[in-house]
Symmetry: C2
């Protein structure tokens, strides 16, 4: 027997599934990337300054640039790893056309000895609130 309660429950269940799907689809669109860069030791300070300027500008002005962690190997500071998160591929394509990104690429072109981009899938993210 189909009661009002059954109908209400069914509609609620369908809406819940729609919300979950929308949410997971939105998450799936995110782009996670690791950039591995080797820098000319003589130009390391200048490279770091250019990188920091690019990162902070992109985060400040581009809604689809979500997160950058730039770190260097304690054993060799010229070995740099950048963990990057973009909202989706449209945001990433827009990012590489911005004046600040083009300025960064032009500035560092003779500082970077090697560049490897590793596109990655998320296994899990766990962090304290505010981190």
């Amino acid at each position: 027997m189909i009661t009002k309660k059954t109908i209400a429950y069914t509609i609620s269940a369908i809406l819940t599934i729609l919300i979950i799907n929308t949410k997971s689809m939105a998450q799936d669109h995110k782009i996670y990337r690791i950039a591995k860069i080797t820098v000319d030791p003589a130009q390391l300070d200048k490279y770091q300054a250019a990188l920091k300027e690019q990162m902070t500008t992109a985060i400040a002005v581009e809604p689809g640039v979500l997160s950058y962690y730039a770190v260097s190997d304690k054993k060799d500071a010229t070995h740099i790893t950048i963990f990057e998160i973009y909202a989706d591929s449209t945001a990433y394509q827009a990012h590489i056309q911005t004046p600040h990104f083009k300025k960064y690429k032009e500035t560092v072109k003779d500082m970077v000895k090697s560049l490897y981009l590793e596109d990655v899938d998320v296994i899990g993210i766990a962090k304290k609130p505010g981190m």
Copy 2:
């Protein structure tokens, strides 16, 4: 001439410097690490489950475990990178003695084909609020 205003300004400036120094000292104690792990392809699902359990438990119960990002290479999911942040070395030493970490190490010991830990310095972190 030394006025009350000058004294107030000087005290305020000193306090500001002290606060900035304390803050930067606290940040300097954080441990940033990249773990690079290669996993037996036949046991990848089990490895990922064990890793996720370890990460979420550590974040939930250990005040000094601040952040984990675990990702896998899109070209080869057995190549895993984990970006880890701990409050300080005391927190990290306490972490590796916890039951959940020891359980993880025991569970994955025959799943992990290689493990390389890279201690890193932060060049810069830039991210959207909430990321």
